[in-house]
Amino acid sequence: MGAQQLTGAQQRPDRVVVVGAGQAGYQVAASLREQGHQGGITLVGQEDGLPYERPPLSKAYLKGTADESRLWLRPEAFYTRERVTGTGTVVAVDRPARAVRLGDGRVLGYDHLVLATGSRPRTLDVPGADLRGVRTLRTLRDARALRTDLAGAAHVVVVGAGFIGLEFAAAANEMGRRVTVVETHRRPLGRVVSEPTAAYVTRLHEERGNELLLGQGVAGLRDDGCGRVAAVELADGRLLPADLVLVGVGAAPCTELAEAAGLSVAGGIVTDEQLLTGDPCVSAVGDCAAFPDPRSGARVRVESVQNAVDHARLVADRLTGAPRRYRDLPWFWSDQFSVTLQIAGLDRGHDRAMVLESAPDCFSVLLFRDNGLVAVESVGRPGEHMAARRLLGGGVPLSPWEADAPGFTLRAHLKARSGGPVPAAA
């Protein structure tokens, strides 16, 4: 899809309706006001309460160290002051009429519509998947339920060794629970990190007493006779006792509204490099958007705070008269036990991994493809992670040979290549 020619009204719309009040939807509203948008902003979210941060839900919140008002992205006063209105459920988008219909029958007209519908957890397709005590984690409501369940659980089984599963496994362990993680791949975080980092994460969990059953599928979930989960049946027939099962097997984009409205959907709501859908009055941002990765050219969908915020900021800039192409570098973090894993860049398949280690709990893995740096994973080296973000984000080249030099650091390389002290943000 090429850049679309926009008319004046499309460039500076008056009424903006945002569907979805997660991190991305909230940020569209906040950034629109920051950029001087004077018109109406309706932020329609399905969840009760104010927009909140999701990352703590699998960490501090579970351990009871963050109360709910501390999760709010902004207090109520913000929405009043900035005239950001609305709750409800959007049930349909009528593009010819430029209006959305809500579940209670209300119709809201828009000049620009932003779809920030997010994603929802995938569930298991096995017998017993709907038993009580089998949960997923995405919303505050999910986290509340898990916090309650955890209080009475002794044996916790986590299905899926992705970020959510492992963060939950770490938190449950720290609360004194016995935790087993079951993963079909032969290593944790198989789709997102390299072999060396996966090996470190495995060790991290095992050393603290979590059991990781890798390369192992789940055949079903067994009942206690009263509709509550009692055990997880593995593909090899073994039974794991469980009074709480967290299913963390990835998330699927919420694309139904877009699809029903006739917008293109392919592994997410398809957008161009300005995050516009095929309709110049409709943008898609955050987890639900499938957009062209500026570095590889591939269509990607990214679930992260960074992606949500940077998408939202770009759309707000465009809607207030400053269009640009999306160029922001993806970055991620995951807190497990006392360790923070940081990732800069999107690794869509590397052919070389180089480990720079300064101590067992302090290392970076540099991932190269065709002799060019594509991503960096770090543990305990925040300075190197930030340098990686600058290098990759700024397109500063780095070859494996340069990185192989004794005493090499990303920070020093960045400094040398940018010809001075570490620069301020672009």
Binding site: W331, Q342, M386, V422, A424
Partner: protein, 107 residues
């Protein structure tokens, strides 16, 4: 409750009661203070809660750790000797009266 004063880049001031135990960042977010983005929510991942601490108060603060020091190399506005990440400043009774200046931008 300790009072913290947030001074925006345009010199408008807000003085707020912030419970001990919260961070200076959280105090701003919970009280709807503009100018602190705190994209990562206090995980020291983003350097978008950068503040300039009133120079007189710098010595009274807990010293920064290496992580914060590293992150401060990547703020949107220039780092100065009194630069801190407000997510790393825990409010205590001893910090009552603290004044922090917000940079012009966080991105």
């Amino acid at each position: 409750m300790p009072q913290i004063t947030y001074v925006a880049a345009d010199s408008t001031e807000r003085t707020l009661d912030v419970s001990a135990g919260l961070s200076v960042m959280r105090g701003a977010v919970m009280n709807d203070v503009d100018g602190i983005a705190a994209q990562c929510g206090g995980s020291a991942q983003c350097a978008t809660c950068h503040v300039y601490v009133d120079p007189k108060a710098v010595a009274a603060l807990e010293e920064m750790d290496e992580e914060e020091d590293d992150m401060l190399g990547y703020t949107a506005c220039e780092r100065r000797p009194n630069s801190r990440l407000s997510c790393r400043l825990q409010v205590t009774d001893a910090l009552d009266g603290l004044v922090v200046h917000l940079p012009e931008r966080q991105y």
